[in-house]
Amino acid sequence: MLKIENLHVRVDGKAILKGLNLELHAGEVAAIMGPNGSGKSTLSYVLAGREGYEVTEGRVLYDGKDLLAMAPEERAASGVFLAFQYPIEIPGVSNVYFMKAAVNAVRKARGESELDAIQFMRFAREKAKLVKLDDALLKRAVNEGFSGGEKKRNEIFQMAALEPRLAILDETDSGLDIDALRIVSEGVNALRSPERAMLLITHYQRLLEHIVPDRIHVLVDGRIVRSGDRTLAHELEAEGYAAFGKAGATASV
């Protein structure tokens, strides 16, 4: 579903990703673990299409198409979803309107009929249950005055509503207490499906105890330096990223 080949990305003239290779299949849940500054967030933003990231080499294929040539909204319409590490507050736009605009934009782009206000409200309430997001939060302005946990739950609610094929979860565990982490993880696990791929981007292995990945990739200094199964997380926990050093070649276990 997703194939990243030799991806080089610069931000403000500084090389961040330096030849990243990665493959992700439908139904697969992969984790990308790495220390601060290794390029994790850059990868998530590049995949979602944020401006300010200069791709100098390599390519990203999504269902065989050139993902990097697509506008962010086209990516979303074709099923790419990024759960933001720092969800944006948007005063003056209610969560319901925001998601109605988003869901209908995506449905329209897919040639599906749009949902009217009543249909959407029913749909939204159903999806909101998944992460225990109540009506009050649906009606408030997007993320405005939300706690850290509420923001992350809101991201997963949006993911549930948009039903992506490729979900990238950027540090979804950051800033969550244990209860919020459980709610968010349960929401994500409920969305696992054979048609859907997920990329969990995280610094700590804590999240991976709740959302167990099929595969783990270790990102250090802009490259995947190690890939393995879930046991790799424990190895990382025990030895730290330092053990993986800045070794160049990609290794597999």
Binding site: P72, A76, P91, V93, F98
Partner: protein, 434 residues
């Protein structure tokens, strides 16, 4: 009599009509004289530095004829505001054409009639609160009618006052004059709307004078919807007595020139004023708000919050001045102006400032000018919302809160609709937010 005169000055009479009491006749005579002496303002006037009235002054506007199609005008106003009003006063080209409905605690009548029958109620207010120069003097010299709104108690329903600039084939001028008297302890919501039918150039030179007596509470919305041939030059002068509360909530959308000079005087201890406003310019539109608040009594509070959207080659001016007199100890004064600049060719001149003559003051002022927030734009696009729509959604959101502060849902909705109608993807946003 001098030779043939051209332009707006030709409309100013050399001899005032002797209608009503002597004080009114002399007020009008003085207004004409002052105007003929000092002329219309130019760029050398501090308050007119960024706003040119050359086109207005150079146009020979005809005085509007008294409307004869009252019923049609009432219907038109109702269609524009899209609701059944409990109490609606409709004026067209400066004259009252009808009053629909009634409400407890308020009396409404034509200003011309009030002058005939009970001018004493107007003495000390009419012509006393508004400035005596420029276009306020023009209105004083030329107004034929308008409305007197006497609020005596708690008015359970919003009082709607609609002024229609009628369709015409040649340049036409109207001079509506509104006097609002809010009696001690009264409470009311007044919605003043200025709408224009399509047509030739139209000048509305309006003056509204508002007296808010002790412990009275008045919510006053003002909705101005212009088009490319409307010139709207208005004064709103407010005087507040002890313990009163007054809120002005302005929405000014477009117009070749739409200007409001708002003077609020906090004359009594503990009086509070809120001045909120939203403006939008596009094309070559020009919108100007001059907001002067004078704290002339102890423990008075003012809050000024204006937000503007600037697009195309539009030009907006905001000049907020807070004066705190030596007697006004314990004053709280805040001014904020935020602007969303959507085009490189649009201009904003903003100047919030305070002149403080006492030490015992809590005050702040600030202005910002910025583009659409990139992070928010990306967030919306990453959720599938196309860029143009995402921009308009954020643009609308920028002013939405203040528009919704209009304390009358149908007017707030009409104002929101009007804002959306001016945005390229507004129709789509209306659809998704319905």
């Amino acid at each position: 009599m001098s030779a043939h005169e051209e332009g707006l000055m030709a409309a100013v009479p050399r001899t005032a009509p002797s209608v009503g009491p002597e004080w009114l006749t002399s007020l009008r005579r003085e207004a004409s004289e002052r105007l003929r002496e000092s002329g219309f303002p130019g760029k050398k006037h501090e308050k007119w530095r960024f706003t040119s009235v050359r086109e207005v002054v150079g146009t020979s506007f005809e005085a509007a004829a008294p409307p004869s199609d009252e019923a049609a005008l009432m219907r038109w106003a109702s269609e524009q505001l899209g609701d059944e009003a409990a109490l609606r006063i409709v004026l067209a080209d400066g004259r009252l054409v009808g009053v629909e409905g009634e409400a407890a605690g308020v009396r409404v009548e034509s200003l011309a009639k009030a002058i005939e029958s009970d001018a004493s109620a107007l003495e000390g207010v009419l012509g006393q609160l508004a400035p005596r120069e420029h276009f306020a003097a023009l209105n004083a010299a030329l107004f034929q009618d308008g409305a007197l709104v006497r609020i005596t108690g708690e008015v359970p329903t919003p009082i709607q006052l609609v002024h229609v600039a009628r369709e015409s084939e040649s340049p036409t001028a109207a001079y509506p004059r509104i006097v609002v008297l809010a009696a001690p302890g009264s409470r009311a919501t007044l919605i003043e709307s200025y709408l224009a039918q399509p047509g030739a150039k139209h000048l509305t030179s309006a003056v509204t004078e508002v007296l808010v007596d002790e412990d009275a509470r008045l919510e006053h919305a003002r909705f101005v919807l212009g088009h490319e041939r409307t010139f709207h030059l208005a004064y709103l002068a407010v005087r507040q007595a002890r313990g009163s509360f007054y809120a002005s909530r302005v929405v000014t959308l477009g117009g070749a020139l739409s200007r409001l000079d708002l003077d609020a005087q906090l004359a009594g201890e503990g009086a509070e004023v809120v001045l909120e406003g939203v403006y939008h310019v596009d094309g070559t539109e020009h919108v100007d708000h001059q907001l002067w608040v004078e704290h002339a009594a102890p423990h008075t509070t003012s809050t000024t919050r204006y937000r503007g959207i600037l697009d195309g080659k539009g030009h907006a001016v905001l000049n907020a001045m807070g004066i705190v007199r030596p007697s006004a100890r314990g004053t709280v004064a805040h001014q904020e102006n935020r602007n969303l600049l959507l085009s490189d060719d649009a201009t904003i001149d903003t100047k919030p400032h305070l002149e403080i003559e006492t030490d015992d003051v809590k005050a702040s002022h600030g202005a910002t000018i910025g583009a659409v927030d990139d992070a928010a734009l990306f967030y919306l696009r990453a959720r599938g919302i196309p860029e143009a729509e995402a921009r308009d959604l954020l643009t609308f959101a920028f002013v939405r809160e203040l528009v919704e502060h209009i304390p009358h849902e149908p007017t707030a909705r009409a104002a929101s609709e009007a804002v959306l109608g001016r945005l390229p993807s507004g129709a789509r946003i209306r659809e998704v937010t319905a």
